[in-house]
Symmetry: C2
Subunit: 404 residues, 2 copies
Amino acid sequence: MSEFLDRRAFLQAGLRWSLVMPALPGLAAEGAPAPQSTGFSNYGQPAPSERHVIRLIGSNPRMPGNGVSWTPLEALEGILTPSGLHFERHHNGIPEIDPQHFALLIHGMVQQPLRFDLTDLLRYPRQSRALFLECGGNSNAGWHAEPMQKPVGAFHGLVSCSEWTGVPLRLLLAEAGIDPRARWVIATGADTAATEVSLPLAKLQDDALLALYQNGERLRLENGYPLRLILPGWEGVRQIKWLTRLEVTDRPAMSRNETAQYTQLLPDGRARQFDFVMGPKSLITSPSHGQRLPGAGLYEVSGLAWSGHGAVAAVDVSQDGGRHWVPARLEAPVLDRCFTRFRAAWQWDGTPAVLQSRVRDQLGNLQPGRAALIAERGRNGYFHYNAVVSWAVDGDGAVRHVYA
Amino acid sequence: MSEFLDRRAFLQAGLRWSLVMPALPGLAAEGAPAPQSTGFSNYGQPAPSERHVIRLIGSNPRMPGNGVSWTPLEALEGILTPSGLHFERHHNGIPEIDPQHFALLIHGMVQQPLRFDLTDLLRYPRQSRALFLECGGNSNAGWHAEPMQKPVGAFHGLVSCSEWTGVPLRLLLAEAGIDPRARWVIATGADTAATEVSLPLAKLQDDALLALYQNGERLRLENGYPLRLILPGWEGVRQIKWLTRLEVTDRPAMSRNETAQYTQLLPDGRARQFDFVMGPKSLITSPSHGQRLPGAGLYEVSGLAWSGHGAVAAVDVSQDGGRHWVPARLEAPVLDRCFTRFRAAWQWDGTPAVLQSRVRDQLGNLQPGRAALIAERGRNGYFHYNAVVSWAVDGDGAVRHVYA
């Protein structure tokens, strides 16, 4: 009988994994060729045998520099994404900015316009936070009529999680002196598209960071070097890369990326605009599409959960397409607006199953089922797809994406 | 007057940093050359302007493959070290192991010897933990009669911190069935030196991990690909890279790395052996040796603290060489046997100062001053140097290493 095991059974189950080959005489690795030795390096790279683990690029040949690359979530563990595998979404290429000539301008409805070069910014107090960052268009294949048969990273991999370090923006806004009538800030990137978005001033005075570092080292070019705006829990397009200008104002800019794009078309034909917060979402990364279970037995079901509203409170898993749910174990640390890794022990009896996960965040927001999401949002959606993901495990162990 | 500021003053101080240039007309970055645009990449690399941030290699030309590379701690932020900059200490090169031919053998005083290939190991339950990893020989220049004038990474950079993911070793030991008379485990690496150490069985039955992943992706070659033994809080040499054999036994092997090396010679001529746990340690990474403060004013003092005994409980900082101490702020998350980042706001009046930090861990262990360490351990020490580090700030803002 397939079943999820409780924690005590899980520990006892360690004795029943039955995966182990009978012992062989002699030392390990006998018969293997003697390994080559290599030397020290100034900056390490992935192991040669693992260089198939890459971000897959999807770009538009008619619009060079416009496209995405996906984080291969199915190949990764823990909660932090290596910077080399952080997803990309660029509207018009990656500028290579000379840090000596870079400046951030804060102007508009302020008492004193201010200009900061990097030397200035690097002297300010800093804060580090581990935060997920998700493209508003992530998982949009979920709106398709038929379930897409691709690995989890090529479906949901426009989300990554990093430790960002930077200057709390509220310090700089306070120095500039905000006009009490101001309500919005228009943020602009130094890319050739001059990507521009409008942001409520209150968020920028709350927890926004001017990130200079990602995962310990200075930002990568493709993540906004030398300066990226980080808005914990908000959709990626708002977290302007190569940030060079913040204009304080009393109204939004109504730019392309907040009118023609990144809005939610609803069933009645109206569109939801300024939908900033990424909803609660989870998915099982193992087993997941394209894997094949070698046979009945004990498996660890493992995945990622996050919510733009706060910390993850609980993740439940199901093996029968959502009819029954059992709690998964959340692995510490469970941090505010960060990936949380969940794990559950699963005894598979070799008969077909449908694995699902469902997250609830600390504010009580529950990840919706797909039918509920479509009932609310209709079939014309593109952004902010966060429905429960279903993986069918067939009798032969093959795992594929289904709607359930 | 130089002073550390309390938290409330620190927040108000945001308004007094006085680092900001007068606003200039026009947009930011005027006069800068138009940036080049680059495209998507499968695996990202550091920004070209930041490629001076590397691990410095110190190797012995008469013993190829024997040496170290240091993590540039002074250039990094947050608590996690990018894998490409994780320190290295190799005794005889880096083997490039074919994962298809790799196996781990558990044998000796067990009911059933067991052999695991990677496919087996990858099916076991996993655990992820963020942990520091420090070479027993880190900071050994602190024993020198004169303070070494090198950047903090080239002095203390044989320590790094990663999120490790792997299989709890206790599960495998339980499957093998341990003879009740067993007390030790001899662990062997697949490097050409066949590096071998003896480990108390109790630690391996407690929190040891068989790490398959580092910072989300599979191990790098230089960190033990495909399998590394992780022993939270213990010295690096025990955390065998390229782990291929665990022999359960009733006595230690008395191998070279636990007799001739990695022992503590004491003032009375005896040596302390099997000194596994890395003691409480902290250091200020900014300001630190080689930096120059541009003038009197407000600065953030920031650094790292850790202890092999548990979580960091408190870090104090001093500006007068240890006569007065004030608490630094510990940045969340504060995790068991992980780097903790501390920060303090410091008003420098432009007169000479001596900056120090001192950590206390959750078991009450206090980082010793240098005089106390030498009084206990003598002047013949080499390993396990964890004394308070002192940075003199001269009147011209130059920062250098001193003993104080």
